[in-house]
Amino acid sequence: MNSPELFCPEFALLLGALLSFACAAIGTSARTAWMVSLAAAIIAVGTSALALPYEGQPFFADIYTVDAFSQVLKLGISMALLFAIAIAQRQDSTCSQARPEVHFFFYLSSLGMMMLVSATELLTLYVALELSAYGLYILAALHRRERIGSEAAAKYILFGAAASAISLYGISLIYGATQTTYIAQIASSGGSPLLIAGIVLTLAGVLYKLAAFPVHAWAPDTYQGAPHEASVFLGTASKVAAVGLLLRVLSMAGSEAEFLRTTLIVVSVLSMSVGNLSALFQKDFKRLLGFSAVAHAGYLLLGLLCFSKLGAAAAIFYVLTYVPIVVCAFLVISAISTNGCNPSIASLAGLYKRSPLLGLVLLVAMFGLAGIPPTPGLAGKWFLFSAVIENGHLWLVLVAAINATISLYYYLMVVKAAYLAPPEDDEGEIRLSPTYAITAFVAIALVVFMGFYPAPIWTLASTAASALF
């Protein structure tokens, strides 16, 4: 199949981008812009779901590939987009004149991400990478308090520019080594030291997107300083795209996978250890989630470093289930944040009383991140660890599992704050808007369903992985 309809999830996003741009241009209220954007996001999710079975190359041969792999990740990206827009109903933390514009950047960035997971040629891939990044750079800067927003954006953009430059250099080395920019041809070209050097350098830009060590330092600052809806988008959609990108880049290694594996093992162990140990000392809830994201990048890498179908499927499963879990956490943040301030962990006190539903959402989020059933966090880790042991790295699983134990401590501290401490006197009941209540129910239902019955998502993930291996 070579028709333009293969491109329909991207078209849906493009439509959303144009509509929200129009809304911003004619100066509609933030509320109208939000409703238009929400409707477009629902259409995008529907289109992505319908496009799941598509396969083919809509443009020139081998540049842009639509296969099970790209389509599953596109569904993940559009789900994350929908959740982020639902959370953007409350924009207390966004600077007021930019509120209608936020949606345009959401769509533009998601479009970049979708193209990223389909790109099978290095220049296309690089252009898509930049397209997805620019929207995020701006989103990160939109906090209503200028200083916080500038810091978040400056760190993100400087890191991003550096990582992207390194990637570009890596791509030039790869081209030098193989005289081609087509991923399929590079993979079959037979390895050379130059190619490996190129891939390792390219990885810099990719690991930056995933917030993995050593290019993770932006994550806590940007999570903390970006508006809530931008943080949740950054923490979910961006991760899904990064997993897709990483799998594509790693597939270039071909026969030289062994050396890369050693590098990735080091990156993975350091990511989870640095993320978890730093998160232990955080007081700001969003910052804690930033470090937790670094740790989760480490877990995700476990699946990727296996270079096997099981490993890729486990990583895809993990990141797909990670989306609603992180959404749960940010839903609570956005709902309890007053005047756009970041909630501290202590300010969660008495949440169980102020809003039992939010208390439950938070519990699900923390248990999900910690990998406690009945959330898919356990199944996700189980599959990742299975892939790693199949690869023969028993000790690596032990390291990861002990890391998960460490992380449980700070996740439980959050639960403790919400469930044990009594509410402050001046803080009354929290009233949730219908959108937030529905989002909460949907997210919890998704998480618990996937926790009890992981089979459907696993089937998706494993179909996606078999397109690569």
């Binding site: 199944a379 299975s386 042991i389 002990i402 134990t405 401590y409």
Partner: protein, 483 residues
């Protein structure tokens, strides 16, 4: 009748109670309690039906159900029971039902309490009946985590510290189990997680078994309170509210011992044979050490907490003899100790609820003040000493006979530990229950007739299996092959 998925029904009893508890409003406290008590009663009746339906002559796993779950990587919702699971399922049902009744007077955050508690019980049932490693581990984690809020919210005495310590210890155990359990799957060829298939002889090489066994033994052993990783257990017992202590010591610690028996020893027999002397030694130290420490405690619950370390040491010693008698005794002891500690904590909890004091030195002559309430404590104490007529007498006897045959020196040391056990129990009885009367507690009231029901059930169970141990041994023997 035989067509009904009776195991799934018993498994989902507490889950139904959980959902109902979530849906009921906080104000309907009695309704919440009733729903949970009803679920407990149904699961108790069902577990008795399972007991009577289980065909001991045929043995093996029965009432099996098998539904593909994540079929692409061989995970099945596979459940079934053998003689050992039947016994432990009954134990869980007894403790669940009596635990709900013991907490009938709870007033603080009733809804959340019963939600977490029924979730815990759901997990425990799941572990005892699952035959698939993933499903087993899933339920194992479901059972462990509710402990944190249950202790941290409703507990006493440094509750937040104890809850966190307990959770982290158990999670370190899980961290060891992750690689151990998954290695079984990968090493066997990556086809199945089914325990029955994996237990077949010759699946795993001896070197692999010796390598993996300690991961599984220690991973599960931490939950079973094995020395030297027991320190979470007494403080957890002390901090927990009554019914949680009952569940924790009565059932949760058995999950660890059950995991060792079913997976570590069941799947890796050669590894078990290699490591048995080492772990038997640790178990013996646990028996003696627990009893010693219990002698010096001044808090009722600490005494029982350390006695649990000691009694679970007996279970682990029995398992490590790897023989028929030792295993029979160990499983019997799991059951007897479960019921006995439930009774202990139930009795102490009743006194503490009124006095808010658990210091043994502050009491004296309680038997004259509240004879009925103390009689429950005395019954549990007699059982704890292993007095003939109570279930634990037979259990300990079997373990010690087996231990003397296999590890004579450790057997003697363990039996010597019994003397200390008698000493610390008699010390508590002498100081707090008998002895000179402390007039401060003259105002204490006896339990209502309703509140005596759970305690009487527990005592009846202990005495029944004390006088008719063959009922129990026939059931366990259908697995181990001995009577």
């Amino acid at each position: 009748m035989s067509d009904l998925p009776i195991l799934s029904i018993i498994l989902f009893c507490p889950l139904v109670a959980f959902v109902a508890t979530i849906l009921l409003p906080e104000s309907k406290a009695t309704a919440i309690k009733s729903v949970n008590a009803f679920a407990g009663l149904v699961s108790l009746i069902l577990s008795l039906i399972i007991w009577s339906q289980y065909d001991k002559a045929a043995g093996g796993f029965q009432m099996m159900e098998d539904i593909p779950w994540v079929s692409e990587i061989g995970i099945h919702y596979a459940i079934g029971v053998d003689g050992i699971s039947v016994v432990l399922t009954l134990l869980n049902a007894i403790v669940f039902f009596t635990g709900v009744l013991s907490m009938w007077t709870l007033e603080k955050r009733v809804k959340e309490y019963f939600a977490f508690m029924s979730l815990l019980v759901f997990g425990v049932f799941g572990v005892f009946i699952s035959l698939d490693i993933f499903v087993f581990f899933f339920f194992y984690e479901v059972a462990v985590l509710p402990m944190y809020p249950l202790i941290a919210i409703w507990g006493s005495t440094r509750k937040e510290y104890s809850a966190m310590k307990l959770t982290l210890f158990l999670m370190v155990g899980s961290a060891l189990l992750f690689p151990g359990l998954i290695a079984l799957y990968v090493e066997s060829g990556g086809e199945t997680w089914n325990l029955v298939t994996l237990s077949a002889q010759g699946t795993f090489s001896k070197g692999f078994q010796i390598f993996i066994y300690p991961l599984l033994y220690v991973g599960f052993g931490i939950l079973a309170g094995m020395w030297p990783f027991h320190s979470w257990s007494p403080i957890g017992h002390v901090a927990a509210p009554t019914a949680v202590s009952m569940l924790h010591a009565g059932v949760l610690m058995k999950l660890g011992a059950y995991g060792i028996l079913r997976i570590a020893i069941g799947v890796l027999p050669l590894g078990a044979a290699f490591w048995a002397p080492t772990f038997a030694f640790a178990a013996t130290v646990g028996i003696v050490y627990g009893a010693f420490v219990a002698m010096r405690q001044t808090d009722f619950k600490y005494v029982i907490g350390f006695s649990s370390v000691s009694h679970m040491g007996i279970v682990l010693l029995g398992l490590n003899t790897l023989g028929v008698d030792g295993t029979n005794g160990a499983v019997f002891q799991m059951f007897a100790h479960g019921v006995m500690t439930a009774l202990f904590f139930s009795a102490v909890g009743f006194i503490y609820d009124q006095t808010h004091d658990r210091d043994i030195r502050n009491f004296g002559g309680l038997v004259g003040q509240i004879p009925v309430a103390t009689s429950f404590f005395i019954m549990a104490a007699l059982c704890g000493m292993g007095v003939p007529g109570f279930a634990s007498f037979w259990a300990e006897l079997l373990v010690f006979i087996a231990a003397l045959k296999v590890f004579p020196l450790m057997g003697i040391a363990a039996i010597a530990g019994l003397i200390f056990t008698a000493a610390y129990i008699l010390r508590v009885l002498g100081k707090a229950i008998f002895g000179p009367k402390n007039p401060k507690w003259d105002h204490l009231v006896e339990p209502t007739a309703f509140l005596t029901i759970p305690r009487i059930i527990l005592i009846a169970v202990l005495l029944f299996f004390g006088f008719v141990p063959s009922v129990m041994l026939d059931m366990i023997g259908s697995v181990t092959g001995g009577r």
